[in-house]
């Protein structure tokens, strides 16, 4: 156990997860919350309030997930992949593009 604590590999793993949880995770959740606020079929105040609360819950779940997934690389890949749908939604809504 203590030998494991001393390895630099372990330290990098922890540091990477901390970065993923703080910067990466918060960024992803912010993107997700913005997309949610923009797309919820509610008056704007209600949409924002709902998106904010869902955002906090999602962030907590994300942090827990980040410290549970075995492979650090996989975490970053998933963060990147998960950012695509809300990003697409934002682009569509902001440019008011229509698909059909």
């Amino acid at each position: 156990m203590s030998r494991r604590h001393a390895t630099s590999r372990y330290r990098w793993s922890v540091a990477s997860r901390v970065l993923a949880a703080s910067v990466g995770g918060y960024g992803l959740v912010s993107l997700f919350a913005a997309a949610l606020a923009m797309s919820l079929p509610m008056p704007r105040l209600e949409a924002v309030i709902t998106a904010v609360m869902v955002g906090f819950l999602a962030y907590a779940a994300l942090i827990i997930a980040i410290f549970n997934i075995r492979s650090v690389t996989r975490i970053w890949i998933w963060l990147g992949v998960a950012a695509v749908p809300p990003a697409v939604v934002m682009v569509l809504l902001l440019t008011e593009a229509t698909l059909w």
Partner: protein, 527 residues
């Protein structure tokens, strides 16, 4: 991370709990105290009248009405703050002439049955400043403190969830307490205080996050509002329309009438304040604001607007009752507990104390768990010593600092410049001293010493009060002013509890040190 999900969660819980534990302890202590900030405000302003006679809202409205009609008709507005169950004898009225450029304030002395200018109390931040640090911290630029508190709150939320997951048999273990088994006992202690008020902790933490959406989740706000915070304000808090003066005089109905109307809409005792705009003018309006008492959904934004001359309702401002708004309103209401009566308020206080105990036991558990490993290694690591010093200096030291704040309130000269700021400086100077003390003393001794200091500074507070003011127990109990008496009594109880803790620590560490020849090694370790 670790082998199992549960182990990973325990690992995460341990480390994030450690990193923000001391700040969270500060937040919990100031928040717990904050439930009684009005009473603490009163204790810290001993020049003010005792709360002896109860005025009903109707009596208050009549009294204010008579006074204002006699002396203040040619003004722009009247403002009346009605007494409630926590400030029952304080009826404050003020009137303002022209855009709030000049306003005069009077308070009603129920014992003498007349209005007078408020007795200028000593300059102090009172209980409110202690409470305000709960979300703003201190000495930091405006929103930085709020941001730091928000980050710690989010981490606390994760710590709660991971703690629940890591705790294997949460119901079965609730009745487990293995005393005098070192690490096991601390773990059981930590589990019991945490689980007992767990719903409260989850509520208080999540609701804390929801207080500042523009700061904590700004992208969601900006997605719909851009940078138009005025629009956000307008959606959240409907605007009041200012009437324009007609110049025609018209008699107003008695204020009592509008209180009765408010009672029809909101029920008994819910009116918090009355504002009269353009009194005596034909366009005069009377606004009744909700006190927030009597309902969990924070209704303090709700207002009733009446025509002052014919008594008809012009507008009822209610925040839109959509489901999301009801949820946030409910969360704010539950967090702040403005609606709470005495019994529930003490329950809030007790739950807050359990929260402080949860954090404190968690921090201590961290060192207890590692102390054996440290002693086997022969010398304590810097990190371990740092955590220990921060633990002692904060868990015992912060309460000592807060007591110093109260001592400063009684001892600092009344006319002193920057008096309120210096009361706060006293808190932080003494807390800082306790942190230094803890870093230079062997930990067992430091615990016993600081807990003893805490026992003395709290236990002696009622005595200090008696020496320096005439608002001590000998006066407040006969007069039935239980808020003021309660402060002194609570300080006394706190002193006793700290004393018991100090005695226990002293006994344990004397036994430990004296026990065996190997005890010498442990004694060296402690220094």
């Amino acid at each position: 991370m670790k082998e199992t999900f549960r182990q990973s969660m325990a690992w995460l819980h341990t480390w994030i709990g450690l990193i923000v534990g001391w700040v969270l302890f500060f937040i919990f202590v100031t928040g717990t105290i904050g439930y009684f900030y009005i009473e603490i405000d009163r204790w810290m302003r001993p020049e003010k009248a005792l709360a002896s006679i109860e005025l009903t809202p109707q009596e208050a409205a009549d009294v204010a009405d008579a006074y204002l009609r006699r002396g203040a008709l040619e003004v722009e507005s009247w403002s009346i703050r009605l007494p409630d169950h926590r400030t029952s004898s304080v009826l404050r009225i003020s009137w303002s002439t022209g855009s709030g450029s000049r306003s005069e304030v009077r308070e009603y002395d129920a014992a003498l049955r007349r209005f007078r200018e408020p007795v200028p109390p000593r300059e102090t931040g009172g209980g409110f400043e202690l409470y305000r640090m709960h979300w703003k911290l201190h000495y930091l630029p405006k929103m930085l403190g709020v941001l730091i508190v928000g980050i710690c709150t989010m981490i606390m939320f994760v710590a709660l969830l991971t703690g629940i997951v890591a705790h294997k048999k949460i119901f079965a273990d609730f009745f487990t307490f293995r005393s005098r088994k070192g690490q096991r006992s601390w773990l059981d202690f930590h589990n019991i205080v945490s689980v007992t008020a767990l719903p409260f902790f989850v509520m208080i933490t999540f609701s804390g996050l929801v207080f500042y959406p523009s700061l904590y989740m700004p992208t969601a706000v900006q997605a719909r509002y851009g940078n138009d915070y005025d629009q956000l304000e307008a959606d959240l808090y409907p605007q009041t329309n200012q009437p324009t003066p007609t110049g025609v005089a018209a008699p107003m109905l008695p204020l009592r009438h509008f209180l009765s109307e408010a009672r029809r809409y909101w029920g008994e005792g819910a009116a918090g304040g009355i504002m009269v705009r353009l009194p005596g003018d034909a366009a005069a309006t009377v606004e009744i604001g909700h006190s927030g008492i009597g309902t969990v959904l924070r209704n303090a934004d709700e207002r009733l607007h009446f025509d002052a001359v014919n008594g008809e309702l012009i507008r009822q401002e209610t925040p839109r009752r959509s489901v999301p708004r009801a949820i946030t309103s409910g969360l704010y209401g539950l967090h702040e507990g403005i609606f709470a009566g005495w019994a529930l308020r003490w329950l809030y206080f007790a739950s807050g104390l359990l929260g402080c105990a949860m954090i404190a036991t968690g921090l201590v558990l961290w060192t207890v768990k590692r102390r054996d490993r440290q002693s086997k290694a022969g010398a304590t690591s810097f990190g371990f010593r740092l955590v220990e010093s921060l633990n002692i200096g904060t868990i015992a030291g912060l309460p000592i600092g807060i007591a110093a704040y109260f001592w400063a309130n009684r001892l600092l000269p009344v006319g002193m410049a920057e008096r309120a700021a210096w009361e706060m400086h006293s808190l932080f100077i003494v807390w800082g001293m306790m942190l230094l003390w803890a870093s230079f003393r062997p930990s067992g001794k430091a615990w016993a010493e600081e807990l003893s200091i805490a026992a003395v500074v709290f236990g002696a507070l009622p005595l200090l009060n008696a020496i320096t003011t005439d608002r001590h127990l000998g006066v407040t109990i006969p007069a039935g002013d239980w808020a003021l008496a309660g402060f002194d009594l609570t300080a006394l109880v706190a002193g006793v509890l700290f004393g018991v803790a100090a005695a226990k620590v002293h006994q344990k560490w004397t036994v430990r040190v004296g026990a065996t020849h190997r005890g010498r090694r442990i004694a060296e370790l402690g220094s």
